[in-house]
């Protein structure tokens, strides 16, 4: 495991991994509302919520594997999520 240690055998990478797993679980809970939720607007806002959770997940993955390429992908996902939401609500 790379990265510094928090205390004992628990490193910071483990903390980032736990946060990433938490975000994935929250995304699946939001996906249930997106599939089941009545109306088109619940689905739009579920897509928006999952997209914003994906940004933090990408930044955490970039810190876990220590690859700075993921931050550019996270910025791209943020811009695409915003444009997609605006387009879906205007038309």
């Amino acid at each position: 495991m790379t990265g510094t240690e928090l205390f004992g055998t628990i490193g910071m990478v483990d903390v980032f991994l736990a946060m990433a797993i938490t975000i994935v679980i929250a995304s699946f809970v939001s996906l249930y509302r997106g599939i089941e939720g009545p109306g088109i607007f619940n689905r739009i806002i579920a897509v928006n919520v999952i997209g914003t959770k994906t940004i933090v997940l990408l930044v955490l993955i970039g810190f876990i594997y220590e690859r700075p390429d993921f931050f550019d992908i996270a910025l791209l996902y943020a811009i695409l999520n915003f444009i997609m939401t605006i387009a879906a609500t205007r038309y």
Binding site: L6, T22, G39, I45
Partner: protein
């Protein structure tokens, strides 16, 4: 001495990450449990923005003053601009289509009359309005 500083940075990072994860989970539970579209958006629009901002600030604290931190700072600024804008756009579109806000009395009356919840009636009305538009 340097060990103390590194541990303090890690502890601040973990605390900010935990608070951000708490807000994100609270927003998700509100998104799952609230009765109406507008109240669900009330839960997600604020809790997700705050939780995300806190988690990214924690990663800035962990990363230190590098080029990567500047990228994450731009990401936070963009999220703080874009997320309320998209939430407002969704709410405005739903209000223009004609989705009525949820009221407790309406839901009870609809439940007593038809045996159905008022939420699905409102969503059906919203979908009809969408087709007309």
């Amino acid at each position: 001495m340097s060990d103390t500083i590194i541990n303090l940075t890690n502890v601040i990072t973990v605390l900010l990450l935990l608070v951000g994860a708490f807000f994100m989970l609270a927003g998700t539970i509100g998104f799952l449990r609230f009765p109406d579209f507008y109240s669900r958006m009330h839960a997600t629009g604020k809790c997700d923005t705050l939780g995300e901002g806190l988690m990214l600030v924690a990663l800035i604290v962990y990363g230190g003053a590098t080029f990567v931190s500047v990228k994450i700072l731009f990401l936070i600024l963009f999220i703080l601009l874009a997320n309320p804008t998209s939430t407002h756009a969704i709410a405005k579109a739903a209000y223009d289509v004609g989705l009525e806000p949820w009221r407790k009395l309406d839901e009870e009356v609809a439940w007593l009359n038809t045996g159905d919840t008022g939420n699905s009636d409102e969503s059906r009305a919203g979908e009809d309005g969408g087709e007309v538009r």
